[in-house]
Symmetry: C2
């Protein structure tokens, strides 16, 4: 860049007292006012964190190494930074703000690091798990809008671990997707065969596992099955159902459990039902009614909650056309 084009005020002799204000100035030269707002908040909090903790050079270098190792642990099928976000409660917070739900709608929860984009499509009634996996479970679901009308044609993406608590992406010899699949909803909802969920630890062989160990936190998630539901005109629902009575129900390592998402796992008692779905009496049965909300419902709620939250925080930020706080236009 041509130095004669530098338009910021002269900047040198930066100290712990003036570095933050000057970083804001140098970050405020671009046209993207939302990005400016994000950077202003990020830099303020990052610097305040260092100032309040009197972060030492060794601790700073430790953080550099931790973040580097976290990035380098990531692969096409492993996302250690999402796991870090999950274990620090950030993922839950971001989901809550972006996908608020009115009473009666199915609540959301963390996506987690194990969703993939290579799940196969299945017909309703098929098994998303290969033969020999876990204890067979029949899953019967309805899918409706908040007015009680069936939502037809939704894409329902489902994933769960095998009976040992491992996702297919954790297999050393992963050939392709397993214990995951995509269904289309009909007038009657969607139904499929899976296996009974089990509790499992999040991966602990990386930097996040080291962090949990140092903090004396356990790494377990209670038994659950993930669902990601997309339908035209509706807000994406990322959620999971949790099996009631799991020993980790109230200490989930990634803060995902919500009372409304805890379900009672039953056994199939009706021989006709078993026969209809090619199951045995005594196999596990999960029945649940999902309710999703429209983009309009979601957007209105999100904007209202953002306004209220900013009011509580005493923020005077302007809201842009997306209802997001943004830096003021200076010209």
């Amino acid at each position: 860049m041509d130095p004669t084009k530098v338009t910021i005020p002269p900047m040198k002799d930066l100290t712990d007292e003036n570095i933050t204000a000057n970083t804001h100035i140098i970050n405020s030269q671009g046209p993207d006012k939302r990005l400016q707002f994000l950077m202003h908040s990020l830099v303020s909090h990052l610097h305040d964190f260092a100032r309040e903790t009197r972060l030492t050079t060794d601790e700073w270098m430790g953080a550099i190494h931790f973040l580097t190792a976290t990035g380098q642990k990531c692969t096409d099928t492993r996302q250690e930074f999402i796991l870090l976000s999950d274990t620090l409660g950030l993922s839950m917070l971001v989901d809550a703000m972006n996908h608020p739900k009115p009473p009666g709608a199915t609540e959301g929860t963390v996506l987690g690091p194990f969703h993939t984009h290579d799940a196969l499509e299945f017909e309703n009634g098929e098994s998303i798990c290969s033969a020999g996996k876990g204890e067979a479970m029949l899953v019967l679901c309805t899918l409706r809008d908040t007015a009680g009308r069936p939502v037809v044609g939704a894409s329902v993406d489902i994933w769960e671990t095998d009976e040992t608590g491992h996702y297919d992406t954790q297999y050393a010899d992963r050939g392709g997707p397993d214990c995951r699949g995509i269904l289309r909803s009909g007038e009657d909802g969607f139904w499929f065969k899976g296996i009974r969920p089990v509790p499992y630890p999040v991966p602990t062989d990386g930097p996040v596992g080291d962090m949990l160990l140092k903090l004396k936190r356990h790494a377990y998630r209670p038994s659950h099955m993930h669902f990601k539901i997309n339908a035209p005109g509706f807000d994406e629902l990322v959620t999971a159902l949790y099996v009631r009575g799991d020993p980790y129900e109230t200490s989930d390592a990634v803060f995902g459990v919500k009372s409304s998402l805890i379900i009672d796992l039953r056994k199939i008692e009706d021989a006709a039902l078993a026969a209809k779905h090619g199951m045995q009496v005594g196999d596990w049965l999960l029945v649940h009614d999902f309710v999703i909300i429209t983009n309009e419902e979601s957007d209105a709620l999100r904007r209202a909650q953002a306004k209220e939250a900013l009011r509580k925080l005493g923020s005077v930020a302007m809201l842009n056309s997306d209802g997001l706080p943004t830096a003021a236009e200076l010209d």
Copy 2:
């Protein structure tokens, strides 16, 4: 972990309003009170950042990808996270807090991502650059304590770019260290041959470069030469000398310039001096007096500044034996 050993209060139904307090509880189970304090501050700021900005799911995923790419850009000779810290002003802040200097002592500045651990040792008077590099420059320095006594036997680690603005670690075919070296100080200080520093852009072929571009920031650092000085009993000095009049003197991409570190580059006029050092009249000459402080001086100053800073912030944190704020012992 045995779930019967979980001692935290039951935790579920986490929302954007209660997630932060509950993350603090789950992070407060270990014995390391300093780590607890760091995590408490980190999580508070991380969550407040998301809440204040109403961080969107897309922006969150963008950040996940940015951090992942930053980690994956790092190699043995490339540290993209240090570059990120430098460009966000964090490195300058951490150095200022950890290595405060009394009047008269040489100020510190950013280490940057280009220091290596494989620099060779040189005798005073030798050239740290291989033949054919840049415009020859003689560097004559003294090294004293704050009482004016010479500091003998210090390790002085020096690094600079070549005349094209590239460090040796940026060479595709790097065979070994170049334009870097380690000297030992004597009664007369230390002296060596290098080349005239030039301005250069920080590496822009990674995520940090993308960030600077989006923020319309230039990537340049003004001409400088790095020094890292270690002597038994003395606080490590990480600093650099900047050439007066550089076009980027007041807009350094990493906020490193301090008035006291800007030096006047002269030319050798004295034929005897030139002859003594195997230089030519007209070659560049850099003369500087470094003053380093003892560990005791540094420690006392750091503790006093930490106390004062925490008082200003209204913090009631306890200070541990290192003078660092820490979580209170609960038992």
